[in-house]
């Protein structure tokens, strides 16, 4: 029995070696360079985010020293922009949906009707991600968004229930 049917992910065996084909959700090398180049030239309004262009290491094609808030900005605004036209439409749609889910969830003013809509949409979004990514992608962190909208309905806006203020306070305590 197979876990799932992913023709594009199966290993290709030659006589001498085993090759792993590039999956549809992975960018080509040229496209990756394009993304890093774009990130390098990126400027934000003052106070919106840290200087993301400083994180880019062009030689190694990596981002170094991402802070939690950089990930927050990336998740909410940059994911749809970065991967537009680089990934196929179906994959880009799913990534954009999860990005919008987090953006709507983190809004300071939550509409009760809106949360219910989020609650139904996130299920479909996660299913779409399941159709794209392999089983190893889904650790517990990919599962938890499904309960976040429920918690938002009970507890109100997430700004009062997340750890940003406390992580900041830790620095003060340490000093």
């Amino acid at each position: 029995m197979l876990f799932c049917n992913r023709k594009n992910m199966e290993l290709v065996c030659d006589e001498s070696r085993v090759a792993k084909p590039r999956a549809s959700f992975v960018l080509e090398k040229n496209a990756q360079l394009l993304v890093y180049k774009w990130l390098k030239s990126l400027c934000f309004l003052d106070g919106h985010a840290s200087n993301i262009s400083k994180l880019v290491n062009m030689e190694e094609c990596r981002l170094y020293g991402k802070k939690s808030h950089d990930c927050h900005v990336f998740m909410q605004t940059l994911i749809p922009l970065t991967f537009r036209d680089l990934l196929s439409k179906g994959i880009w749609d799913a990534l954009t949906e999860i990005s919008h889910f987090f953006r709507d969830l983190c809004s300071g003013k939550l509409n009760v009707d809106h949360i219910e809509r989020l609650e139904t949409n996130i299920i479909e979004t996660l299913c779409k991600l399941e159709m794209i990514f392999p089983p190893s992608f889904f650790d517990s962190m990919e599962h938890l968004p499904i309960h976040l909208s429920f918690e938002a309905k009970l507890g109100g806006p997430v700004q009062y229930r997340w750890m940003y203020p406390f992580e900041r306070l830790d620095i003060t305590v340490a000093i």
């Binding site: 197979l2 799932c4 993304v35 159709m131 392999p134 962190m141 229930r161």
Partner: protein, 383 residues
């Protein structure tokens, strides 16, 4: 701070987190569980006694009373009830369902709008920087949800309640350290504290309730007692989820655990090709247990002995039918089982981890991507 009656208590504790030398045990010199001496050798006998480990506890009652003494803050302590709420829009936790439910169940508490709604946050960090020797310091912080949005999460109104020093992580033994705080919270709930309110210029009995805790995912286990490892990591789905262990990666995967939340007639439910091979989803979403049901479940499991051995004790069926590791100390609060939301999943960490996974996989970052050889082997593995 002592002249302002905002001092703190130093409570000796066993360096292995077995017990506090507190109340009836205050006079003891050796740990009841592990037998470790409380004081360092060579101290005492004319010199000052030095304990191996100390817990610094900052009583919350006097700090709350202080808020009512200042005209700048006293008037804001009723904001949660006095502000104009728009129907169907939430801008503050007081407009959430959990808060409303709590107020309706405990009408005697909600009748006095000056009663304090608290939140608790704890997180471990290394005060010497991430490159220094490993050391884990755990501040426990309380915040006051009565205040308006602009003040509520400001550092001025967050009260450090306790500092649990390292070098090791308290882990499940955090309950031992939380004891003084829970005692004080229980007392604040049952009898309250006589407080002078300067905005109305009279005394009243102030009471306080803990609404929920804020914690990251590993801390979730320490505070709630539900282990966040393995296949049963999700504390909402509990034993009803369909996670499985991947052979080659050796970790739990939550693949195809979400179709059951879809409506009955959804087309994805019949899709045999793109999800788990050949599976048609017929199950409905798992139902969440209420606080009272959970309380009954937790009561069935006995106490564990805290200390060095706490990680090794396992309740029968652990990892198979449940993931409980202990009965959390919060269940001792008389109102805890009526809370709808007890422990928050931290949006910040979830968002960060989801982003990192997506970005690293799509950009094929070496060593970080989830689409590696092992993943490919798992896709094609024959069970």
């Amino acid at each position: 701070m002592k002249p302002l009656s905002l001092g703190y208590q130093k409570i000796d504790m066993c360096p292995n987190f077995c017990m506090l030398y507190y109340l009836e045990n205050a006079e003891m010199t050796e740990c009841m569980t592990c037998g470790h001496s409380c004081y360092k050798s060579g101290t005492g006998k004319g010199k000052t006694l030095v304990a191996y480990k100390k817990l610094r506890y900052f009583p919350i009652t006097s700090r709350l009373q202080r808020l009512f003494m200042s005209p700048r803050t006293a008037e804001h302590m009723t904001w949660h009830q006095s502000h104009d709420a728009v129907d169907g829009v939430m801008v503050h936790p007081s407009e959430g369902e959990a808060w409303k439910h709590f107020n309706s169940v405990h009408s005697h508490f909600s009748a006095e709008s000056r009663n304090v709604h608290l939140g608790l946050c704890t997180d471990g960090f290394n005060p010497f920087g991430s490159f220094a020797a490993p050391y884990s310091c755990w501040p426990v912080i309380l915040m006051i949800y009565n205040l308006p949005p602009g003040m509520c999460m400001r550092s001025e109104f967050m009260f450090l309640s306790m500092v649990i020093l390292g070098p090791s992580n308290p882990g499940r033994n955090i309950d031992v350290c939380l004891r003084p705080l829970i005692d004080e919270l229980t007392q604040l709930w049952s009898s309250g504290a006589l407080t002078y309110d300067i905005s109305r210029k009279h005394n009243f009995v102030m009471r306080a309730a803990l609404m929920w805790t804020i914690n990251d995912f590993p801390t979730y286990e320490m505070l709630s007692g539900w282990s966040t490892h393995g296949k049963l990591a999700c504390s909402y789905c509990m034993e009803n989820n369909k996670a499985f262990t991947l052979r080659n990666r050796g970790k739990a995967s939550f693949f195809d655990c979400h179709r059951r939340f879809l409506p009955h007639n959804h087309r994805y439910r019949k899709n045999r090709k793109d999800f788990f091979m050949g599976r048609v989803e017929k199950d409905v979403a798992p139902s969440c247990l209420s606080g009272e049901e959970l309380h009954d479940v937790v009561l069935e499991y006995g106490d564990i002995v805290f200390g060095l051995q706490s990680g090794k004790q396992k309740f029968p069926g652990f990892g198979l039918t449940h993931n409980w590791v202990k009965r959390s100390i919060f269940w001792e609060l008389p109102y805890w089982k009526t809370n709808l939301l007890r422990h928050n999943l931290d949006v910040m960490h979830i968002e960060k981890n989801v982003f990192k996974n997506i970005f690293n996989t799509v950009m094929d970052v070496k060593g970080k991507t989830k689409d590696n050889i092992k993943a490919s082997l798992d896709v094609g593995v024959v069970l």
